[in-house]
Each structure stands twice: as structure tokens, then as C-alpha cells.
Point group: C2
């Protein structure tokens, strides 16, 4: 490695380079030396000089560490496109987010962002629906979409599950989602739950005159996942939900490539094992970008005001990243430039500990292009699910009209009851 | 949640419970309270009491926090089987290693171990070959298997790749593996590399009279992965390698379920984003157990003396876990009991910065049932790959005969040259 010299602070990334930004805490070596190790391990290096190396390879495939900030320990590396297989996300992660975390050369290491060039973008299918397609399906032009998760997370039988979903839709919610813990269980098989719930959806659509969606959790080994997705389609469903991290990139690509014509909702169970420690792992921004690129239509990114740990700045930045076409870094905001070219924007899903009182500040920060999900905040309403759903819808309507919730609650009983229970 | 009371320190786990051990660093609440949140989020709770809960569900599906160590912050939770879908590893992870990491109730959280009951074990295929099957294929009864990774990691053309592999086999190595960064690249397509390399393998077998193996990296989106695995088989290959974490559990299950009759080698690129911080994420032990259960035949677990961060205690414990039939916890060793029943033991792969001088201490600690891989430690030999392979084989032979390397090197030039270059 010592003869390869990966650091080139004068280098300007080419438009076809893959660029990564890392936080690096070296382990008893200099930051510069640690950067050399990181660049080497993701490309053509190993820990010792080898006889099988040649100048052609070094010239063509050597990454460039082109920015080192000794104050923040943040560094940027540009990798030649040829180090990656277009259309193969597992390979891209194995290279750029693989062995490097385990090297003893670094104490902590965090992949903060990846900038993808057009050739990589073009090699993935990308979202089929995105924000525009989902809004068209739901016939909701501007307001945030509102959803719930059937609760308790697991335990309801298929009919009970369908009834809770029905009450939620009838109360005014657009979307009902399976909990991420719920797949096909002894007490609630997928084969029974899907038709039962979708029949209730049809009824809710007839009774409300609104479009209603059911996000069926197809998280499973790939063949079973695709079988389940097809069952949803056969029963008239428009949506599947997949846990993108516990399934993995390879399965997610497969689901997208199957091109079943259904919206893909990305849950992110387990993400915080990777994302929570600020100095180590992989940022949620990176995970969300990757999911958008592969082709999910909506993805959980945090709730800011809920039970999850993420704070406003991070959630907002991730939200902007997945719903914009061009990202330009500014001081303290956004890390790498990203032109998204033909990859459509996708919905940020805010979920986890939300209730009516938290709707206005959430919309204030995140804007209208979000899906607001409240599980406990719907079914925990003192009068039950139907009233809870009404209260959530009322909170969104009040926000859009710029009316304070307390004021709106004067004429909206369900909202008043929710505010009484959980506060503002 | 407050009405559910998940803590029951008198509870004795049933043999059909799933048991998990966590390290928990609460975030401004008591350890007990944090445990309640963890148990709730993986089962039937949410952050507020809900109308849709009922006593049948609470009685049947409530996990029990049955052990809390206030000195070490380690806790154990027993979950009823019904919370999990047998045979669906993504669901099991979404439940037991999902949202919990992201709750603001915990500052840090580490899943240290999962104890799987027989019903879960029986629901996965498990390893087809395992240690016994691989040894039979290779006709190597007792000694550690010796392998290399073709280096540089990427950049060689298919013929060059095949020649490096050939030199390695001829020098005495059993196994040659693709680098994890190498999939199907512009300069080295999978379709050209596989036949070229397997032809050289045949030649090496004829010339040495030994069985030789080539581990082809099939890491890719699932359809492509299976297509590539079949190409390997058509060309007479017996092995595939998959990056289990960047592909994901869903794809790994699919590869195993395809039952192609090939040995599955599990690389673990990216694991340390999850495993490296001692107080957070998921332990390598847990990942290795999961991989064995799904059915890999060999898995990377660290090198102790190499360039990766893991130390002796952890690597040894993981090694014992995957090559034993019954695991009994002892003070400071092993965390949870695990009876493996019919799931065969699998090979621990030690790789990353190894060279001949590090072979004897590695075998001392890990025993003979390991695969020792040296990439740089083979191709970095002063006389090149062939001599490097000879030196590695000589180091293993010396260890098995209980002869010191320096002494053995008197009559083995290649070993001597390796010791001169890298020391002992």
C-alpha cells in the first residue's frame, strides 16, 4: 500500500466518480494514514506490497482522498466508476461500506454520504411511483398523507386486524400499514389477512368516497416475499411494505425488479444499529438515498417529535435529499452534491410516537410531502380507533388551514379528546 | 405499556422460548424502564395504552424480562415463539433486532446473543455440507484448510485472475477466493472469469493430485446471484461465496433454499458497522449463529493476529459457537445456552492480514477446524504467489508437527523468505 499514495488534495472529482464522505477516528495512526487504509481496502490495496499488482491497475483504479478536514475528521474520497458493478448494490456496499469498518486502523468510522454518478443512477430501476405516482393513486394533491399501523403490533386475528384497518380508514386515514413485526404468524396468516383486510378497504372506499391504501408486509425470504406480493396484487392491493435492512439490498432489488406495478413502502427496522452512534456506522441519509435509488416509493426517516431518537436537523436533511432533484451542499447542511437526474422524488414517512398534537410542528419542519403515521396515536384515542383516526385527520386539516389545534378542537370533539389525553 | 409489566425475574425460560441477551444503556430512565420498552417494541406494546389490546393477546404474547444485571447493564428477555414466523429470518430480525435500536429510551443497545429454540432451528435448512462435508469434498481430514484471496482485490483481467489462482493452488493452497469487491466488473466479467479460473483449477488438481476449490463471489441482486451460482455449477464449481450482510438475510435464505448442491462461503463485508462498538449494535456471535442456522458452510469471524480489530476472546467464542453442537455458558465465556440439535457445525474462516508467521498462534487458539486465508500474506511473498502459497502450506505443516517455524524454515526456503519479510 505504501507505494500507492491514495491522497491527492488537488484532485477534483470527475462527474463519473463515486464520492463518499466519512468521519474517521484513527486508531493510533495519523488521520492521513487511516485515509490511505480506507481507500486501499475499498479498491486495490492490501496490507503489504504484492507481486500481482501492476501499473495499469494502479493508474486506472486508484481512489483519491481529495479532502481531509483535520478539525472535524471528515474526509472525502473519489472512487473510479470501474471499482463498482452498476446495478449491483450489494457489490457497491461490499466495496465502499464493507471491510473498512473492521480494520484495526480505525477506531470509529462513519459513512456519512455517498454521491452517485449518473451511470450508477441509470443502472437501477428507481421508484416506479414516487411522490407524484402515489398522490395520483390516492387522489390527494397537496396535503400530507395520513396513515396508521395496526396495533397491537402482533396478536390480532385476521378479522380483528381487518376491522381495526376499516375503522382507521373510515375515520379519515389514507393508509393502513402492517406492523413490521407482523408477517405470516400462527394467529394471523398472511393468506387470510390480505383478502380480509382488502375487502374492508373496498368497503371503506365505497363508504367514504375516498381512495384507501393497505400496506401489506411482505418481508420474507425472496421467493416467499414475491409470492406474497403477488397475492396482494391478486386481491386488488396496490401496496407492499418491505423491511429493507432485515431483508437486505439484494432482496429489495429483486422486489423492485419484479416490477409488479405496486407501490413499495420501505420500513427500516434495525437501521439504528447502524445509524445511531454519530461517529460510527452508516448514516440514515445514506440508507435513504440507497433505497430511493433502488426504487422504493416511500421510506421511514424518523419522526422528530416522536419516540425515536433522531432530531430535526438530520430528519429534515434526509427528507430534502429524497424529495429533491438536485442537492447542493451548504454550510452545516447536506454533505455531498447529488444530481438525481431521472430518479423521481419519494415520500418521507414520519412514524414512531406521533399523535395529533405533534402534527403541526412536524408539518412545519417537513412540509406537505410526507406520510404521517400514528399507531398508538390513533388506536390509543380514548374513544378508540375510529375517533383516533378522525382526530389525526382533523389535526392535519387544522395545520393546513393554519388554525391552532386548540381552536380547531372547539368544533372537533375527537381532536379535543386527543389533546386532552396526550397534550399538544 | 405501563399496564403490561414485562419484567418477571422469577420466570424460567421455556425450551420453546426465543431468548435474547442485550447490553442496555438507558437514556435518562431506569434500566428497568428501558427493558420494558425493549420488550414492548419487539412484541405487543406501543408508547401508549390502546383500545385494540385484549387480555388473550397480553397473556399469550408478552415477553418476559427475566434477568437484569445492574452492575453490567446486561439483561435477558424470553419471547414466546408465537411472536416469530419460523423460517423467516428477516421477520425474526425485524422483531428482535428492529426498531428497538432507534428508541429514544435507550442511549446504546447491543444485541449480544440470541438463543434459538428447536422449532426455529427446524424451520431453516441449515448447512448442507458443514465442516464434515467440506472436509470430505477436499479430502483433507484433520489439518486446517488453507486459502487465499486473489489480489489485487480488483483490477486483474480474467486470465490474470485465473493464473494467480493457479499459482496459489500449485503452491499448496486448498482454496482460492474472489475478493469481496469483485463481482462482475468491466475489466473482469463473471462470465469470463469463472470458466477461465475453473479450467485452471482442473489443471492444478491434475498436477498436484489434490482437490482444489474456487470460491466464486456471486454477491448480486437475487436473480443475478442465482444465475451466477448456476454458471459456477455448470462449469464444474463446487463453491459459491456470498456477502451475507450487503446481500441480506432474505437473499441468503434464497441461495440456501435453491439447494444447488454447492458449498456456501459467507463473507461478512460491513459487519463491523454493526459489531465494532462494544455497547451498541449486534455482536458478531449473533451474526455468525444466524448464518449457521440459515445454512452457510463457512463464515469469516476474524483473524485475531491480523489487520482486523477483533481480539482473541471474541473470535474464539464465535468459533466455538459455530463448530459445537451444545453451548453451555460459563463465567466470562458464552452468553446463552444453545443446543444446535441437527444443525451441523460449520467452518470458521480466519482472514485479514495473516501471513505464515501468524499461523502457529492462530491454530493454537482456534484449533484445526478453521480455514486460514492469506491474501497479501501469499501474493506479497518476495518470490511471488507460488512461493507464498508454499510458505503458507509449510507454516501449517510445521504447526501440525509441533515444529517451530524458524526451525522448519531451515529446510523450507519459501517459509524462510516469508519469515525474513514479515517476521514471526
Amino acid at each position: 500500500m505504501k507505494n500507492l499514495e491514495y491522497i491527492d488534495l488537488k484532485y477534483k472529482p470527475k462527474q463519473w466518480d463515486v464520492v463518499a464522505k466519512f468521519f474517521v477516528e484513527p486508531n493510533d495512526i495519523s488521520l492521513k494514514k487511516a485515509c490511505e487504509h480506507i481507500a486501499a481496502e475499498s479498491s486495490i490495496g492490501t496490507w503489504t506490497d504484492i507481486a500481482t499488482m501492476n501499473p495499469r491497475i494502479a493508474r486506472k483504479l486508484k481512489p483519491k482522498v481529495f479532502s481531509i478536514d483535520h478539525k472535524t475528521n471528515e474526509v472525502k474520497i473519489a472512487y473510479p466508476m470501474e471499482l463498482f458493478e452498476p446495478g449491483n448494490m450489494p457489490q457497491i456496499y461490499s466495496a465502499i461500506a464493507g471491510n473498512i469498518f473492521g480494520m484495526s486502523a480505525v477506531k470509529y468510522l462513519r459513512l456519512q454520504d455517498i454521491g452517485f454518478p449518473k451511470k450508477i443512477l441509470d443502472s437501477f430501476k428507481g421508484p416506479k411511483f414516487g411522490i407524484k405516482g402515489v398522490r395520483k393513486l390516492l387522489r390527494v394533491k397537496k396535503r400530507p398523507l395520513i396513515g396508521t399501523i395496526v396495533k397491537p403490533k402482533v396478536g390480532l386475528r385476521p378479522k380483528q386486524h381487518a376491522n381495526v384497518a376499516y375503522d382507521s380508514w373510515l375515520g379519515g386515514l389514507d393508509i393502513v400499514k402492517d406492523d413490521e413485526n407482523l408477517a405470516s404468524m400462527s394467529f394471523n396468516s398472511f393468506e387470510k389477512r390480505i383478502p380480509a383486510t382488502l375487502r374492508k378497504r373496498d368497503r371503506a372506499e365505497r363508504e367514504t368516497g375516498e381512495k384507501k391504501m393497505y400496506m401489506a408486509n411482505v418481508t420474507a425470504p425472496v421467493s416467499e416475499m414475491l409470492k406474497r406480493a403477488k397475492l396482494v396484487k391478486e386481491n386488488g392491493g396496490e401496496y407492499v411494505m418491505i423491511d429493507i435492512l432485515t431483508c437486505g439490498w439484494s432482496a429489495l432489488q429483486e422486489l423492485r425488479d419484479a416490477d409488479l406495478g405496486m407501490v413499495i413502502h420501505a420500513h427500516r427496522a434495525g437501521h439504528a444499529a447502524l445509524t445511531k452512534i454519530p461517529v460510527h456506522g452508516i448514516s440514515m441519509l445514506t440508507i435513504a438515498k440507497t433505497a430511493r435509488l433502488i426504487g422504493v416509493d416511500q421510506i421511514h426517516i424518523g419522526a422528530i417529535f416522536g419516540k425515536m431518537f433522531e432530531k430535526e436537523k438530520e430528519v429534515k436533511m434526509t427528507g430534502e435529499e429524497i424529495e429533491s432533484q438536485i442537492i447542493t451542499p451548504k454550510k452545516g447542511q447536506h454533505l455531498l452534491e447529488q444530481k438525481w437526474f431521472n430518479v423521481p422524488p419519494v415520500f418521507a414517512v414520519c412514524s414512531g410516537g406521533l399523535y395529533p398534537g405533534r402534527v403541526p410542528p412536524l408539518i412545519d419542519v417537513m412540509g406537505n410531502n410526507i406520510i404521517i403515521q400514528a399507531g398508538g396515536g390513533t388506536h390509543g384515542h380514548p374513544q378508540g380507533t375510529y375517533s383516533g383516526a378522525k382526530a389525526m385527520r382533523q389535526a392535519v386539516e387544522a395545520s393546513l388551514q393554519g388554525i391552532k389545534l386548540e381552536e380547531y378542537a372547539d368544533l372537533h370533539l375527537e381532536l379535543k379528546q386527543a389533546l386532552d389525553r396526550w397534550g399538544k
